[in-house]
Symmetry: C2
Subunit: 619 residues, 2 copies
């Protein structure tokens, strides 16, 4: 029998509440999601993080599960916290949701500098002003559309139905004439009067964690506005596998994921258009990049089998749809171009990175590393181009780290370790937690100081060799090794901030994924690091990390000064290139066919390489 | 300032009510429609009928307008009735809506006998069962879609995105294989298992007054189920001009019209599928016919200019869309084929009539008359085919007739006049009013009896020459000439049922429109009635009228016995032919190009012919 579940939905403690009937054997998380209540589940509801924790405020608190104890720790369990994903109450209870991850002022990488100077502009979107005089006599057997088609010089049947709605007014209302917009021989819009100077497009990069939308003027290539947000699907799972698990064989959940991203894209459209005074109906072309899962979900395609061996995508070719088919609130017949896909975990974003970095040109071997929740590594030259996925997971974004947080206001983003630990926070604010770049610096510094050894073990036993201030931070609590980064009050910290042994393991897994991707591509190509002329760091996190720290922990190989370079959000830049240039979009097609996918897990040498890469480099 | 308006929405008198704020200078009808309350406005809110009347039950009753007095008469005005379209209260009032027109058991013409035996079946919908073995190794760079496309033998890019949703499951779940449905080289659906025997289609006839949907099996051509309903747009206007006026330059109202018809079509789909045990996803082809205005509204195209000289349609060519673009709940990629249009008032329905009657074949001149609210007349042979519209208005449906009603239970549908008036009702029920066929019989009988003269005047002055029983029925009340068809209690009538002078004038206008269309086509073709080998009566009303009465009042010419024939709902039959046969659908295209539109109003001789046709034939 269902039991009454009351959820206090406002983490700030106001009285906002929802009353639900909780069916038997249903978790609080599942019931909340079914009712449309946002409870964040970074791990996708698998008991592997703390984001869905709720506090019991009325009714019997159920006994803690293993998951509660491991993830939440004794103190929170005693205070009445439980993981909503693990907890299936059998009598009436009231729970309060916890505050979501801090999301304000999150340093999401924007679109980066524009690409206007880097490409000859040839967007394919054409506008022409026509004067069409309609016959006034009834005996003419004709129609508005036939008169228009004759003036433009195409067949009436080739005009999409979507432009018919406003046709009668457009043809009659303005003495200046009508403006006809076309793309690849297809009429996209018919507008009254002269709007020939209004030609805009959007480049959209849908990442697992963040979504970036950029508005460009299609004549000059000028970047008018850019907006970025966290991907609102994250509430259903922080990484791709969690999200695929959420949607797997569950059309209702797939719809939820899709609705969220489509809703966000329309918010983005409204925002960039408002910011730049552009009417959404003047946006005629959109280029979308994203990994295979994001691509499939956006199109409403079941991604279940992308998550199951052999990880085949449902489709790979470049696809162009009308905006109304995606419910995008721009010109209804605007063309939305999805770049092609290489494989289940090497998506259109990787193609866009290859395009923007011109990795396929020149004799020198170069490497591009897109560090993200679902990272990709590409290696190549004009001779050959290979790629693999490197699923780092959310650790670089602060996920699954005890006091981890995203790169938001108050996050420790830079750490120096000398005789003690010294921190810098984003916005110089009181520290709230550690974000990815701070975590890299911290672990790199602790490695150099000898507080962590090359296997990743926190050196509680050897701490006496450390400087006294540092030594006092290396502690054993119960059975857990910790480094106390900040004690309550230090540097303004409101609570203790620690690095746990498990946090170090999470970082090792994450950096091991990227590093083994890099190592495997070198292995497959048969080249040592020395032969890699340049390593390009792309993607959100890739642009904030310290290269020295990244090399120190073995995230990237030590190529020597000047051979590692930040290239910004290369996926978005690739989308912008395709937006401004149809030849570039054609090149993306050719690139997708050229890129060879290296499947890591299927390779006989992978296991050994991965294990090696999980360790830190010995000094 | 807005005033409070309370509408008692249930004409049966329950307490159901809606409270609205009525803005200044807004009619009760406009406010009700804006709030989504169904108040029937047969004339489109132009004060020309009584269908939107409301009764004031609280608050000050406003003084009657001219419209109230003319349309409602003294008695109803005194009882507190007013026309909602004319009334703009300036203080708080409560009004009750009047009962809508009787709609139960309305004799809407169904689809008629099937066309299965009349055409070689070649629907274009093909199904094939395929077995596709997907690669199991990760290093294959492929996708589900590419494997499917290779098996079918087409390019992946030619598969519409809509079929991708279910592709992964379909390819993996059933050992029998997958069934691929295609139409004209385009994949419409991919289904798991063997569904090759499931192939269905719909023929839809969207008339101004009634909508008929027929489900056919596409292998045998068998007609499985048919359903017909009143067009729910009628609440916003009974005839085309009223509906165009409602939607004119008002996108919100256009959307209302569109929503209503799309909603009804989905009801029809559900009904015919349920009745025949067919899953809607097995419906892959639809053929739609309708007049130009219905066609435009269904597609969301602004019909404003169809109602303004020179009455040009926005488009005319045959258009094929995917079902999901029309929100039709069948296979999402099912092809919905709209037949082509000839002119603003000669639509795809006329083309379908020409197709079904084979009017363009043979040497003999034949004529097809589709009698409806918006009628059409076609005349032709293999040499030439001409057509015109004949806007009869709603009189044949009982509209704008004092005691008129649709052909529903209780309607007087047959009348004999000898020494008195004798009536028959539909369902042998107590008479409630007169429907179109009864009206024709009644006027024909009164003409023969001499109670109405050839100009249409009711012979009050000459009534003494009539048989006594009949004489007593011909009366002058105030300034109105009337024939009392039934006194209260006669033949079970609950109230008096009369034919007014104005009713006779309405019938003269309606029959004059059809008759002058017929006469004009003969005039343009230069042929007398004798040369017309056959006259085919089509359409809803055309199948219920008495041919003798129709000839007597001059609705159709007197061709002599056996040369006038009922052909059923020819528009729907034409749609069925195109559903079952692609060559027939191609023939519809050729026909639409061949049919010459004769514009009546633009012709110099029309006015004289129309005036002549309004009179009744002299005996």
């Amino acid at each position: 029998m269902a039991v009454a579940l009351t959820i206090l939905t406002d983490p700030r403690g106001t009285d906002a509440r929802r009353e639900l009937a909780l069916p038997p054997a249903t978790s609080i998380l599942a019931a909340a999601h079914a009712a449309g209540i946002d409870v964040t589940a970074t791990c996708g509801g698998r008991g592997r993080c703390t984001s869905c924790r709720v506090k019991f405020v009325a009714g019997a608190v159920p006994p803690p599960t293993i998951g509660d104890e491991v993830q939440l720790g004794d103190a929170l369990v005693r205070e009445g916290y439980r993981l909503a994903c693990q907890c299936q109450p059998t009598e009436a209870v009231t729970v309060q949701v916890a505050p979501p991850l801090e999301e304000t002022s999150f340093q999401i990488l924007g679109a980066g500098a524009g690409v206007a100077g880097r490409v000859r502009i040839d967007s394919g979107v054409d506008k022409q002003l026509l004067k069409i005089s309609l016959p006034h006599e009834e005996h003419h057997q004709t129609s508005d559309l036939e008169e228009l088609a004759a003036a433009v010089g195409i067949a009436a049947a080739d005009v999409p139905a979507g432009v018919l709605a406003g046709l009668p007014q457009a043809l009659r209302d303005d003495p200046a004439g009508v403006t006809v917009t076309s793309f690849a021989g297809r009429i996209l819009a018919v507008e009254r009067g002269d709007t020939t100077s209004m030609r805009f497009g959007l480049a959209i990069d849908v990442g697992t964690t963040s979504v970036v939308t950029t508005l460009l003027e299609l004549t000059s290539g000028e970047q008018l506005a850019s907006v970025s947000s966290l991907n609102p699907q994250a509430v259903f799972g922080a990484d791709l596998m969690s999200r695929i698990a959420f949607a797997q064989f569950n059309p209702g959940n797939l719809r939820k994921l899709r609705t969220r991203i489509l809703g966000l894209l329309n918010q983005h459209v409204a925002e960039v258009c408002r910011a730049s005074g552009v009417l959404p109906k003047w946006v005629y072309k959109v280029v979308v990049v994203g990994n295979t899962c994001m691509h499939h979900v956006l199109l409403g395609i079941d991604p279940s089998h992308v998550g199951l061996a052999p990880y085949a995508p449902v489709m790979r070719h470049a696809l162009t749809l009308a905006a109304h088919e995606l419910f995008l609130k721009i010109a209804p017949e605007a063309r939305v171009c999805f770049l092609p896909i290489v494989a289940g975990f090497v998506g259109a974003d990787a193609v866009a990175v290859a395009l923007a970095t011109h990795l396929d040109e020149g004799d020198a071997l170069r490497m591009a590393v897109d560090i993200g929740t679902n990272g990709e590594v590409l290696l190549g030259s004009s001779a050959r181009l290979i790629a693999c996925s490197a699923p780092a997971g959310p650790a670089f974004e602060g996920g699954q780290i005890r006091h981890g947080m995203r790169g938001a206001h108050g996050a420790i983003d830079r750490v120096t370790v000398d005789d003690d630990v010294r921190v810098h926070t984003i916005g110089e604010a009181d520290p709230l937690g550690i974000c990815g770049s701070g975590l890299l610096d911290l672990v790199a510094g602790l490695l150099d100081a000898g507080a962590i050894d090359w296997t990743g073990l926190i050196q509680v036993e050897g701490r006496d060799a450390l400087p006294p201030a540092l030594r006092d931070r290396v502690v054993m609590r119960g059975e857990e090794r910790q480094v106390v980064v900040l004690r309550p009050g230090e540097a303004g910290a409101g609570r203790e901030i620690v690095l746990t042994q498990d946090d170090v393991r999470q970082l090792q897994l994450a950096k091991g994924a990227i590093a083994s991707g890099i190592a495997m591509l070198q292995h497959v190509a048969g080249v040592a690091a020395e032969r890699v002329a340049e390593l390009l760091l792309a993607g959100g996190f890739g642009n904030y990390l310290s290269i020295a720290s990244a090399v120190r922990i073995g995230l990237i190989p030590d190529l020597g000064a000047g051979r590692v370079r930040y290239v910004g959000n290369a996926a978005s830049l690739g989308a912008q290139l395709c937006l401004l240039s149809e030849p570039e979009r054609a090149r993306a097609d050719a690139l997708a066919r050229r890129i060879e996918h290296v499947s890591l897990a299927a390779h006989p040498d992978f296991e050994q390489i991965f294990v090696d890469c999980m360790n830190f480099p010995r000094p």
